[in-house]
Structure formats: structure tokens, C-alpha cells
Amino acid sequence: MTPTIRIQREDFDLAAEIAALSAGRRDIGAVVSFTGLCRDEGGTLAALELEHYPGMAEAEIARVAETAAARWPLMGLLAIHRYGLVAPGEQIVLVIATSAHRRAAFEAADFMMDYLKTRAPFWKREHLADGTTGGWVEAKQEDDDAAARWS
């Protein structure tokens, strides 16, 4: 099983990605997907700007995916992370895990998101509805705590 990792400016299509992971297979019992969206923060946010470290972003998510693939019996694993400007309601990140059974698929997708949050080199900056550029989003202690659950 080779994880699929894509870092792209363009939007993605969950249904098409699940179809690609499932094509020609009849041994998958469980598909778990996580989609992260841009929130409008009560109308104050115009867009999020996502900066990333090209090369390392792919490499680091691939390392996290390999760890997940070694830990759970997965049939498929995919992660897509966008960069550039993303408007409220738009998709930012997608993780899909497929397995024979639900526990592996749930845990692998959950693990991928926790590690991707704390290890993948992406940084968010807020563009506000009033036309100004807000600050860089600060990292949260709860994200570090979430990742620590798996070690």
C-alpha cells in the first residue's frame, strides 16, 4: 500500500478520491474521511492564506503516512493539503483511510490529522473581512496534546 500525498493550490473532490482508492476492490469494509474547511469566524474572516514549505510538506506528510501504514492494516491512505488563498466554506485538507475494519480506518485518519497539524510545514494567515491582513494563526497547545495521544 503506497500512500497518496498531494500538495496543491486547486480544490479536491472527496467522492472522486474515494472512488479512486476503491476502484476494482471488493475487500474494503471501512472508509473514513476527514475534510477540513475554512470557517468564516463569525463573518470576520475573508480568507485564509496558506503558506507552505515546498518539498518538505510532501516529504513530512509522506513520513506521517508511512508511520500510519506501518501501525494499522490499511488498504488505502490519502492526504491532500491545499496552499494559497482559501475562502470560508472552502476545503483545505483531506485525509482518507480505507481498511477491512472500521477501527483501523478511524484511528489512522485521526492519527494522520493530529500529526499533519503539528508536523506538516504549513502556516495560516488571516485576511479579514474589513480588508486588513490579520496575523499569523498561532499554534494551539491542544494540537500538541492531541498528537501526544499516539505515542
Binding site: 497539524k117 508536523r119 510545514p121 502556516w123 499554534a139 494540537d143
Partner: protein, 99 residues
């Protein structure tokens, strides 16, 4: 018998590395990337941070909190004590906020 070069000989060779900066580290430094010659005595990531801070106020502001800025060597996360031997690209950035 020929003798292996002493470690000090290797250290004396000028070490040119590419530094890359992201997010508010990039903004404070005022550069996205640069090529630098590592001075003698700069052996670890933390040594490099402390040397960069002496260069000007932008670097000093970027690295004001030495424990906050994260580093990667050749696109892998490293700790402040990591050695720079053989490093080609060293990156500095804030804690990640993707996902």
C-alpha cells in the same frame, strides 16, 4: 601509511548552506532565503540561531524566543542541538498551523 585528514581540516573548509525562512520568521528576517558561509564554531542549529541574531535587528526579532522557532535540516524536523554536518538547506519557521 597515509594519514586520514584530521577533523579540524574538514571543519576549516568553508561550509556554504542555504537558509530558508517561512511565515513570520521570513517577514522579520526580511528574506525568503539566502546562501551563507557558516562561521567557524557554528556547529549546531542553536549555534546558527545565535550567530544569526547578531547580524541585524530583523534576525534578532525573528529569533528573539530561541525556543519558539522550529528548524529543519534538508527538509526534516530537527531539534536545536542537531549538528549541521553535511547540511545543504536549513529552514526556520514558526510552529506549524496547517490542517
Amino acid at each position: 601509511m597515509t594519514q586520514a585528514p584530521a577533523p579540524s581540516a574538514a571543519a576549516a573548509v568553508p561550509r556554504s548552506v542555504r537558509l530558508v525562512y517561512f511565515a513570520w520568521v521570513r517577514e522579520r528576517v526580511g528574506l525568503a532565503d539566502e546562501q551563507v558561509e557558516l562561521p567557524a564554531g557554528v556547529n549546531t542549529v542553536l549555534d546558527l540561531v545565535r550567530w544569526l541574531k547578531t547580524r541585524d535587528e530583523g534576525y534578532a526579532a525573528a529569533f528573539a524566543d530561541e525556543t519558539l522557532v522550529r528548524a529543519a535540516i534538508d527538509q526534516s524536523h530537527v531539534k536545536p542541538g542537531a549538528h549541521l554536518d553535511g547540511a545543504r538547506e536549513i529552514a526556520f519557521f514558526p510552529p506549524m498551523t496547517g490542517g
